[in-house]
Amino acid sequence: MSAVLDQHGHAAPHGEHRGHPSGVMRWITTTNHKDIGTLYLWFSFIMFMVGGVMALVIRTELFSPGLQWVDPDFFNQMTTMHGLIMVFGAIMPAFVGFANWQIPLMIGAPDMAFARMNNWSFWILPFAGALLIIAFFVPGGAPGVGWTMYAPLTVQMGIGMDLTIFAVHLLGMSSIMGSINIITTILNMRAPGMTLLRMPLFVWTWLITAYLLVAAMPVLAGAVTMTLTDRHFGTTFFNAAGGGDPVLYQHIFWFFGHPEVYIIALPAFGVISQVIPAFSRKPLFGYASMVYATSAIAILSFIVWAHHMYTVGMPVQGQLFFMYVTTLIAVPTGVKVFNWAATMWKGSLTFETPMLFAIGFLFLFTLGGFTGLVLSIAAVDIQLHDTYYVVAHFHYVMVAGALFSAFAGVYFWLPKWTGRMYDETLGKIHFWLTMIFFNVTFFVQHFAGLAGMPRRIPDYPLMFETWNRISSIGAWGFGLSQLLFLYVVLKAISSGAKAPEKPWEGADSLEWTHLPTPVPHHTWETQPVLH
């Protein structure tokens, strides 16, 4: 994006906080988009650690065949909570954190449209997270139903299921309020001259994601509410004995669930679309086609849900429809991958840590996309359904896609946020450890899945031992590598070298070109005018 400003972002002096709360109360009562962005990011990292420990419990149990460390019921609780916490507690809040920090800076808005609601959106999250954790300590423990919470198993769970349903309601409310804030801010508060097609792509991807959230989260809320009424109020939406249909739950869940994949992936695409041009020192190739591709992916995401359910016994016409529209998603996704590669083509490339994570994303997310294409073929999916091939596929999308992009974003914007540089050498070590151990963990799971190893089991035949051992070693390496990330960030904040005004010479969005580093607590009190 290129723009000329009449007025610079107004940096208010730091003495402006007279009478404002300090210490803990500052963070509880804050309505500043930067503070709230920081809260989201730290919360998501804590939940990432919690979900990561659960992943290590799973991988430790699976190191050898037979039952070693945990009983099968607890193993199921681990897989369920790992999924729920990583999706709703770690990845989604991480990108909402980026949105809070970056969207107002990038469009020249002084803050989010509804600053108090923004505070509320965040502070709901710790209570929802606490409910998920408390579920482990109630009679019957946490639900062991999988993150998809399929009926009729959900009807048989203890009180932990109710806590989880309530947590999902809270997480959904938080997401919807956050989305309303994001859409309103982008539509109504852009600086004069910041037309929609001049917005940085990160802002575009979040605008589309926020619409997806407003449309999809109420569907999940409806599904879990029906589960709740089936459990306690005598309804039988999903109970065949009362005339209901358990498969109906799957349809409703995946009508939410597939857009959810893109709710996670699109903001990741947005981050990558900021990072790659900055380190290629070239404008993003095919900006308009990126916007249209993002919109196309979002629309298609609502008509492909049953590719998650080929094995429930749907008519062949249904299988064909969902197969064709699923493969169609490869077209706009391919446009994006092509554009990122074309942006790098003949660019003046350098490979600082954000760029390394972006390129890592590009390779691995594309691999995850290809295995998604394999799984979209109904005849193949019927063989691979509920095997480790599926586990490998979605971890390439969720971890190598979303998490790598989040790392790229943190390394990219950390100097702007804090005014301090991270240690480049340690950042690169973090990247390579993450890259290597990620593949050690998940690449071999393709082979285990192709050989027929089912997912969500604590025990397995001896023939799967080698792949599982490699995967478990990789998981421990991957988990421990993330402690290095924590160290790099804390070191940067506490004693990092002072960041230059514009550490990345190719970065060209407003926060880099027209705001000081570190960015002041209040920005754009006088909106810039772009020509």
Binding site: A113, I180, V219, T225, M226, F237
Partner: protein, 31 residues
């Protein structure tokens, strides 16, 4: 009413209608 409030109201209406609609649809079908 401000533009922001109008935008938010439209979005809240979409969310609440979707939530209530999906439950109502299957409640009616089921009955």
């Amino acid at each position: 009413m401000s533009n922001n409030a109008k935008t938010a109201l439209v979005l809240v209406a979409i969310a609440l209608t979707t939530f209530a609609g999906i439950i109502a649809k299957y409640w009616v079908l089921h009955g």
